[in-house]
Each structure stands twice: as structure tokens, then as C-alpha cells.
Symmetry: C2
Subunit: 201 residues, 2 copies
């Protein structure tokens, strides 16, 4: 490796550091944020759960409501219930809507789960609330947007919230501070590979 290349690398990295430092200096408002993780790609719920353990790793408290996946075997849920018993964790009591095929039952279960979410969104001790798969509740109209947005807007100033799920509405993305869209470039499933326990769920 030539000295030239090392020197060029050093100069490029000095410029990069100056840019990064400048951006960091400009961002000075401190408050909790609303993050939406949407799109059709793999990684939304797992990112939400990963941020929960990030938060716990710093000694903060977090709470979780899991919509939709109630009857679905789910490793991250088992993990949190077993190893993080201090985390309030509520699970909507029905499965995917194409499994239940019963709109009234879905609505009732969603409404009950949303009440649990409302309680977490008032709890000042929580640094983070994960609302896993909440987008479907909005999409299917099981709980009104008005009721959901009111609780999100009135949460404690220091509390961050992560909402996951496909097809996040435009209104939800406008309300959010950060929106990541996870796109599928390719998926093993499309190539005939079976969904993998411990990886896909």
C-alpha cells in the first residue's frame, strides 16, 4: 500500500469528519422522536425490537404493544418475555386478519390493544414505546386515526415511539420525525427457500 494512498485516505477522512461534525453541531433540539419503519422489505419489526434492546442497554425503560401477530410464534416476543420481564408487553389477541377473516373480532381485539398502547403513551418513565405492526390497525380502520394520533401527539416530550408495518399512511409519515422505508431488493422466499424459524419469525 503506497504512502500516497494512505495520505489521500487521511485527507478524505478529515474532510468527511468535518462534514459529520458540522451536521452534528447543527442538530441541537432535544426531544423524543416518532419513527416509522414501513415498506415491504424484511427488517421492520426486528429493527423495532433491536432498538428496544439498545434502549435497555443504556438503562432506559421501554414498553411494547404487538398488534396483529398475537397467535403467531415469535422468537423476539419469547426473548423479551423471558429475559426482560420488566418490559411492559401487550399482545393483541388475534392473528393476521386473513387468518381470522372476522372483522368485528379484529376490531374488538385492536381496540383493546390500543387501550394498552394509550397507557404506555402516557407513561413518563418510558424512553421508548414500540407499536409493532400498528400500520395495519390504521389501514383496516380498526381504531380511528384521530384516536391514535391524539395519543401519539400528547405523549411525554422525552418519549420516543417506533411504529412498524407495511403501507404506513401519508398522514402518519407526516406526523413522524423519521421515516425509513424498507424495500425488497430480493427475498429468499421468492427463490423457493422456506421461511426460516429464528430468522424470519
Amino acid at each position: 500500500m503506497s504512502t500516497d494512498r494512505n495520505e489521500r485516505h487521511k485527507k478524505a477522512m478529515q474532510r468527511r469528519k468535518a462534514l459529520v461534525d458540522e451536521k452534528v453541531a447543527q442538530a441541537q433540539e432535544e426531544r423524543g422522536v416518532l419513527i416509522v419503519l414501513t415498506g415491504n422489505g424484511k427488517g421492520k419489526s426486528s429493527s423495532g425490537f433491536g432498538t428496544v434492546i439498545r434502549c435497555l442497554g443504556h438503562g432506559y425503560k421501554a414498553g411494547i404493544v404487538q398488534f396483529i401477530k398475537g397467535t403467531w410464534d415469535c422468537g423476539e416476543r419469547d426473548f423479551i418475555l423471558e429475559r426482560c420481564p420488566e418490559v411492559p408487553f401487550h399482545i393483541m389477541g388475534t392473528g393476521f386478519t386473513w387468518e381470522t377473516q372476522d372483522r368485528e373480532r379484529d376490531m374488538e381485539a385492536a381496540s383493546q390493544a390500543w387501550e394498552k398502547a394509550e397507557a404506555l403513551l402516557k407513561d413518563e418513565s418510558l424512553h421508548l414505546v414500540l407499536l409493532d405492526e400498528l400500520t395495519y390497525v390504521l389501514k383496516y380502520g380498526w381504531v380511528t386515526q384521530e384516536r391514535i394520533f391524539e395519543a401519539l401527539k400528547n405523549r411525554p416530550r422525552e418519549q420516543s415511539v417506533i411504529v412498524t408495518g407495511r403501507a404506513a399512511s401519508k398522514a402518519l409519515c407526516e406526523l413522524a420525525d423519521t421515516v425509513s422505508v424498507v424495500d425488497v431488493e430480493k427475498h429468499a422466499f421468492q427463490a423457493g427457500i422456506k421461511a426460516r424459524k429464528g430468522i424470519e419469525w
Copy 2:
């Protein structure tokens, strides 16, 4: 809510279930997968760590090598080190390359970290290996693509691997079974909100 709407919902969900069931029936190959989580949006590393706890929740074993972020305070790392001491976890001993500004030191540290990764990629007891921020090692040429790809290709058949980081190369995406691209639709940072401990890191 009218009976009509409930009936329409039921029929739509029956069609949806038939489609889902058909796709599931078609995917029959069973083996570990290589997943790449790339793009500039928030959520890649946290998704990797979330999948680690998903895997542990099912009673499987997982291992982690964290490149780049060695000197960076990081809640998910503290969490795993404290609560999951059974997880092999190796950390590359230098920080972001624009902080070190020293290419030779970065290369040496990356090479040492890659040796740890090679050991995990031979360990049949591991259901999942997370190679967090590995894309930068490839991008900066700290370890050759040939050496990295050889270990990825020759890993145990049942082992899955997650590679995270921006700017994953075309060759890496071709090798992968699943590629998710996390795009920024918006980010709190752009609106002047300071990166949040327990959320962003």
C-alpha cells in the same frame, strides 16, 4: 358497521389467505440464508440485533462481530454483553474511519475482526451470525472480497448470516438470498433534532 362490509372483508381475506398459503406451499427449500440490510435509512443494525434476539428466543445460538463501531457507545452491545453472555461477540478495535484517519491501523483492526468472523462462520452450532457494518470493510478494501466471500460461501448449510451497512456492493447483493434496502424518507436529524441516546445508538 354493516353486515355487507363485514362480508366483503371476509371474502377479501379468504382470497388473501389462499394466496399466502399458495406462496408458502411453493417455498420448500430449507437452509440458512444470507441476508444483506443496506441503504442510508435508519434501522439496519437494530434489525440485525433484533434478529439475534428473535433467534435466541427460539433457543438457537447466535454470534456477532461488530465492525467499525468499536469505540462508539452502543446500547445494543451493552445489552447483549450483559444479558446474553453466551453469545460470542467480537468488536473491531477502532472507530469510524473518519475518526481514526489512519488507513493502516483500520486495515489491521479489520483483519483481526475478520478472523473472528471466520471462526463463527465455521461454527455449526450457530444458527445465525451477525456481521454488523461489514459493508465498510469491503468498501474500503480492508479485507479482500475473495477472503470474505470464501468464508460466507463455505459456512454450514443451516447457518444464516446477516450483513449490515451502507453501500453494499453489487457482488455482495448477488451472493445474498435476501436484500433489504432501507431508504430515508425523512430523518429527525435533518430537522435539527439531536441524535437520541437509546434510540439512534
